[in-house]
């Protein structure tokens, strides 16, 4: 009995395992030994190198611009634009001490953490109910949640603006904390459903026989076993919040309440040709928290992305 359960969970967790393998890199050599080095150079390393260069160049440019003194930015004849001679931290310090940037960073962080926590809580409950309680209509609810994932913010922001207005939440970060879960819950629920399915049902049966309630089972058995899934859902949701733009642009009006993406588009854009240094510094500083988070949790992030698509 336990053997079949283990086997079952093994096959079901294949998706997770592939994702982990994908991030970690497997050692299977396959048929690559049939290729000579010059051939590999042309068919693999050269195209891959070009693609990587194109993918990373905007970040290099962002970083370079944010430490370049103004006169080097606008004089492309005297200085080679691809390099910087006397790097300066002027733009970054101007950004951090002369604008409300720390405040915007804080807003973004506050909204992202708040919305993600709420969504994960709701998603864990919903996913458990759909997968394990098997209530009447559970499959229909699962499909509805999938369709909710396909509803884009671009068709909702106008009616939502009037809903938010009616609730008296206009121009408050709280409105975003309440609205972002509509983007995150469908995705996280779908992802966690996949994870919960891999947890052997026998564990729950044992607990039920011992008299545990559904809530106790969820908190003491299912959630601890689904921690990797929770981390994946958390990281992905956090990134989505940080990236969201149209709701933040529509709901937030006053400068101190804005999130980083909205503030960068609206607050730095003046006629000044020297704006580029601080603009790039703003983009760089705004991206760093996510890149650092991503660097620590690559595997979880990739499994979240591929897991949700595969289900």
């Amino acid at each position: 009995m336990t053997d079949t359960a283990a086997l079952q969970s093994k096959t079901q967790s294949n998706a997770t395992a592939t994702a982990a393998k994908l991030a970690a890199g497997d050692d299977s050599e396959g048929m690559s030994y049939l290729e000579s080095l010059p051939r590999r150079l042309i068919t693999l390393y050269l195209p891959l190198g070009i693609i990587l260069l194109v993918l990373l160049f905007p970040f290099y440019w962002m970083g370079l611009t944010s430490i370049k003194p103004d006169e080097q930015l606008i004089d492309m004849e005297k200085y080679n634009p691809f390099w910087v001679v006397h790097p300066t931290f002027k733009h970054i310090s101007k950004l951090l001490f002369e604008t409300q940037y720390p405040r915007w960073l804080w807003n973004t962080m506050y909204v992202a953490v708040g919305a993600t926590t709420l969504s994960i809580f709701a998603s864990v409950l919903a996913a458990y109910a759909i997968v394990r309680l098997r209530f009447k209509g559970a499959d229909t609810v699962g499909v509805l949640i999938f369709f909710a994932y396909l509803v884009p913010p671009s068709i909702l922001f106008i009616p939502l603006a009037s809903v938010i207005q009616a609730y008296g939440l206009f121009d408050s970060p709280l409105s975003l904390i309440l609205v972002y879960p509509t983007l995150l819950i469908p995705f996280s629920t779908w992802l966690l459903m996949g994870y919960f399915k891999t947890i052997p049902f026998e564990l729950e049966e044992c607990a039920l026989i011992d008299g545990a309630s559904r809530w106790q089972i969820l908190v003491k058995i299912v959630v601890p076993l689904a921690v990797p899934g929770l981390i994946s859902a958390f990281i992905f949701s956090f990134t989505l919040c940080w990236n969201e733009f149209i709701y933040a642009l529509t709901f937030l009006q006053s400068t101190p309440n804005k999130t980083v993406p909205v503030a960068i588009v609206n607050e730095f854009v003046d006629g000044d040709i020297y704006k580029w240094g601080s603009l790039m510094a703003g983009a760089l500083v705004g991206s760093l928290p996510l890149v650092i988070l991503y660097a620590f949790f690559v595997e979880h992030y990739v499994s979240a992305m591929t897991g949700a698509v595969k289900e």
């Binding site: 592939t18 629920t189 309630s213 790039m280």
Partner: protein, 317 residues
Amino acid sequence: MSTIQTSMPPGAAMGEPSAWARMKTNRNFVALWFMLPAAAFLILFLAYPLGLGVWMSFTDEKIGRSGVFVGLENYEWLWDDAIFWLSVFNTLLYTIVASAIKFAIGLYLALLLNRHMPFKAMIRAIVLIPFIVPTVLSAIAFWWIYDAQFSIISWSLIKLGLITQNINFLGDTSWARASVIIANIWRGVPFVAITLLAGLQTVSPSLYEAATLDGATSWQRFRYITYPLLTPIIAVVMTFSVLFTFTDFQLIWALTRGGPVNATHLMATLSYQRGIISGRLGEGAAIATAMIPFLMAAIAISWFGMQRRKWQQGSDQ
């Protein structure tokens, strides 16, 4: 034996639990409470606004005053509006061109990443970075790269002797369309590549070995092994890619705001401009509602495509 009997409370001995106890273990009742938080969010802030949006498109609501029902007036107005049709054309052009190229480059990149090489894990992690960084922030970097005066691309091409004067990337209609499409492709390729790579890794290498022994060329191996096995995941990935591209807002808003002369206005940006900036909520809602049929068509195509595929492959799921 006797100790067990005495330890049982009287009444419960005959196994007649109270109504509350039965409720507590009724799975439909418990599930209702478990579904409540998620359902509350999705109904209040997703389903209700979706319906409200369709309703608003039939009213002349403006910011600061509630509207009255005007029937199809907003849609009739849009039907004769050249800018609206231009935005539909732009959206279709943007979606089709960007999705096709994202698919081609993404699949190619996935095939490259699937091969054996040193630092494989690190390269795969790096590829995804453009997808991690918030779109608006990378769009700002593209804005600077596309700058009319100090564009690094123009500078490089002039130094290489290919052009004689700066390209006005975001000021010229054709260049602006091409520029936003390229920025969108740059942002979308990692997503397509990494998800397709996950699909590729489920294909057993022994299939390729067997095909090679039978004398299959690398194109035949791709066409008759990789492609058929990858079709379901391609359908899902491309549906998502098409949906997100079709409803894109932030990239355009950060780069061009619909200009020059509306050449890059998508339906989403036009809806924002008419609905929020000009304050004509009803008209903005009508433009947003007009996107729904397109989205449903895209979902239906991929859905039926997948069903047909499954039917051909004889899957019972």
